[in-house]
Symmetry: C4
Subunit: 210 residues, 4 copies
């Protein structure tokens, strides 16, 4: 049985959502601001500027991928929280752990952009995604066990949230494993998996459940 | 028909609004912080400091313009969302795309401030504005088709939102095209169009509809 | 008479408040982060580190003052908005102008910290405070004229909000004028005026109205 | 008796909470972004990259500790505010002081990461935690004296909030004092105290009150 202070602490789901939105907003904006642009010293004509920008291509893919990562986990956390009736300090701390992993995304992105051909960089990026997924999964399991989920949430919704995380993580792990072939292949597969989750309804018309 | 998970995902308009306000707030503040100021090594008297600051003039115009850009699209997104009754994951992802374009504004601004006489820089800045407008337009079209718009929204309001985006984008495109004459002319026209939208009511007294 | 689009645009006070809180939060946090700290190369013993930190004293005063500035204007804007019944696009744009001045505070602070003995730097800092006050005053006048103020707001509250801005701006202007004697005197007076507003209730006990 | 303006100023608890969430979100995200990563010039093979990352270990502990610090005080402030019925300008300013201390956390963290073997750096970090605790304590005392606490808050909850701050600060002070033995010992004890507060329910099962 938790102590009195722990029973009253950190229960506001509204403040947890507001902190989360703030952290996602800062991470998403800083992510992109971190990109290196050509400087006046590096480009002296329209043509040089264009080709300097074009050479940033790989960077763009990395940063675009990270925005997708953050968008997917923002949507995922929001979906969970919308089915939770009340907060507890345990839930708040699991989500603080999740948010810590969110703040690491710009960092692992910067590492990947700097070392895009290194398996270590891909591995760390994947670890970041893995921790994000694991914390969300833990948060949902905890909410289920502690009876925090709204009464009107059908059981199939509960299962669908778990299944979604597990399948996505399997696909990410498969993608990351491809870095032993080529790191580029790895990144391409992860981006494709993410695009599938982002635009799914377009492709998914006709399917009935997932 | 979307899958079960996709039907329950990302539906909170409040969290979408909160994430948007956060991203706009970070982008607006970082935009300005990105400006270069003279350092103590560059100015050794009151006069030198004043002239060093005055020479930042072009930078100021660029950053002021981008604050206007962000303000206009913040107001535009807010207007749309205030007429939408419920969210869907599709709508959330269209707006995440819009927000990605928002995070690019400080970047294209920095590029323009660095290369203010280059057509490529003006072109990229204009592309950024175009994508912002296109995503907002898509979001509104999607909301209309998917029946998400509030029942009490008069049809003329719906049309007025579309028309506003189309006319503004035409004016921006015309302004951007002037970069083939002079990039400065281009920037001046875009700023004037934006000021018109920002202070419109002052100028617009007497007109009845738009 | 405003156009249809302008009648429906930017009316949400909640989103204006959320954007404002976001911008104030980013400005307040980045302000402080901008401070220079000694690096390992500059301090090689406990004593050297202490004296390196002590030599940052003037910087601390500048940044502390700016946090007070932001806190005062945040409280001031909040007080106004809490007495406004509904938003309009005009009000939104006046407050966007106010927020633009907020985003300039970290910039004018950095300038002042770099050029603390220059009247030009004090002058620009004061201009920033002046614009903040002027925009808030304009916002309140506009709300009064356009009939946006809540019906239950007593007339003396309306006057008190105007009077507060005018008196504060007079004191700031007097403080700034002292820069022609010594810039330090100027900064000291502005900080004292701000501290008076921040802790006023402590000193103000016994007075009845202001 | 406060002046009229001071009676109407800064009373919105919602805006105080929103500003707080924003500042915590920015501080938490920037904290981590401040970490130095190896650059392409520093690592030329998978092995070198791995060992360059491993050598960042001490940095990681510092930044992880600061995220815990921020998480603990965010949860603490939230707990207090959730038991307060109405805001006053005094309460707003006490919390602005608390938030100023929050914005200093990334700064004292950066100092500690740079000077991890210096007692001065540990001392300043501890001072930061002390001020955070002192402001929260002051805020709660003020709310109690001014009758702002919700009527349905049991007296034991009030006491539990005070006791929690006092005990935690005693433990932090004891940890900080160990810097006279070894700064690393100091940091280890502070991290352990924080982990205890973060995961307390896990360890605390069976205890009845605290």
């Amino acid at each position: 049985m938790p102590t009195l202070y722990n029973r009253i602490q950190g229960r506001s789901l509204e403040r947890l959502a507001a902190l989360s939105d703030g952290i996602f907003a800062v991470a998403m904006t800083l992510l992109v601001l971190d990109m290196h642009l050509p400087t006046a010293a590096q480009a002296h004509s329209e043509g040089e500027l264009l080709s300097a920008l074009a050479s940033l291509g790989p960077q763009w893919i990395t940063y675009g991928m990270s925005f997708l990562t953050l968008g997917i986990f923002w949507a995922g956390q929001q979906t969970q929280l919308s089915h939770i009736a009340e907060g507890t300090r345990d839930l708040a701390w699991i989500h603080l752990g999740f948010l810590f992993a969110v703040t690491l995304v710009p960092l692992s992105t910067r590492l990947l952009a700097e070392f895009i051909t290194y398996r270590v960089a891909v591995g760390i990026y994947w670890l970041n995604i893995l921790v994000l997924g694991a914390m969300l999964y833990w948060g949902w399991m905890h909410a289920a066990r502690a009876g925090l989920i709204k009464d009107d949430t059908p059981r199939e919704v509960q299962l669908s949230i778990c299944r979604r995380i597990l399948i996505a993580q399997l696909l990410y792990a498969a993608g990351a494993a491809l870095c032993f072939v080529r790191t580029w292949l790895s990144i391409a597969v992860i981006v494709l998996v993410q695009l599938n989750y982002a635009v799914a309804p377009r492709l998914g018309r006709g399917r009935k459940s997932a």
